[in-house]
């Protein structure tokens, strides 16, 4: 006996064979489970599978990073974090959690990807004292020339 997952339909292999078109159409909108003896298989849209894999990838990434953060150990997930100050690490931690929560609700993980890229670029910058010095030195208008 198969139990339902994601409110799916449960169909045996014979029913599937008899009403292929019907069940394949249904599977595009909602996953269906095919029982084949003791085995259970699922049919669902490729987009839905992609979405599940993406969610799993980012959820694991964020959880691993948070675990490392709470244990105060050097991050294997984001090794560049070592160049961030303690305050920046706290800020990154808080932002990544908030962003992941929003992404779970919206299903859009682009903002989380941007956030990670932005923090990595920040860490790369922090790593180089010469760049840090130049970025902190805001010039007066006379110190600039218009680029042609």
């Amino acid at each position: 006996m198969a139990s339902t997952v994601f409110s799916d339909f449960i169909v045996n292999a014979t029913d599937l064979r008899k009403n292929q078109k019907h069940w394949l159409e249904k599977a595009y909108d909602n996953p269906i489970t095919i029982t084949y003896g003791r085995k259970k298989l699922a049919i669902m849209s490729r987009e839905q599978v992609g979405k599940l894999y993406t969610e799993k990838y980012y959820a694991e990434l964020v959880l691993k990073a948070c675990q490392e953060f709470t244990k105060e150990k050097k991050s294997d997930t984001f090794p560049w974090m070592e160049y961030l100050s303690d305050d920046e690490k706290m800020q990154f931690h808080s932002e990544i959690l908030n962003c992941a929560m929003k992404s779970i609700i919206t299903g859009d993980w682009t903002q989380l990807e941007y956030l990670i890229q932005d923090w990595e670029a920040t860490a790369e910058t922090e790593r180089n004292p010469e760049i840090v010095k130049m970025l902190q030195d805001k010039g007066t208008p006379e110190e600039y020339v218009t680029l042609k």
């Binding site: 920046e88 670029a121 920040t122 790369e124 922090e126 760049i131 130049m134 970025l135 110190e143 020339v145």
Partner: protein, 93 residues
């Protein structure tokens, strides 16, 4: 041309002129693309092909454009005046 479509003026720190010229020699096409991006849409990630980063923490307000794998341009944007100020040009080691 409406104000929102006006190109941005690019202002470069005088002491960076040589760095800019050197990077121009080194990367030619890539730096030209960077210049076009800064003039037209300096804050638009979607048009940057993944080359735009918005720095965080104490560098909030500074943007980074990846000219090549190693070469970067750091800048800030004055939206009201439509000016891009290039603060540093260099390589990540």
């Amino acid at each position: 041309m409406s104000p929102s479509n006006e190109e941005y003026r690019i202002e470069l720190k005088k002491r960076l002129e040589k760095n800019w010229e050197a990077l121009e020699q080194e990367t030619s096409g890539a730096l030209e693309r960077c210049k076009k991006f800064l003039k037209e849409t300096p804050e638009n990630r979607l048009k940057s092909s993944g080359k735009l980063k918005k720095l965080k923490g104490r560098f909030k307000g500074i943007l980074q454009y990846d000219v090549t794998d190693q070469a970067r341009v750091w800048y800030r944007v004055d939206r009201r005046q439509r000016i891009v100020y290039i603060e540093y040009i260099g390589h990540h080691r």
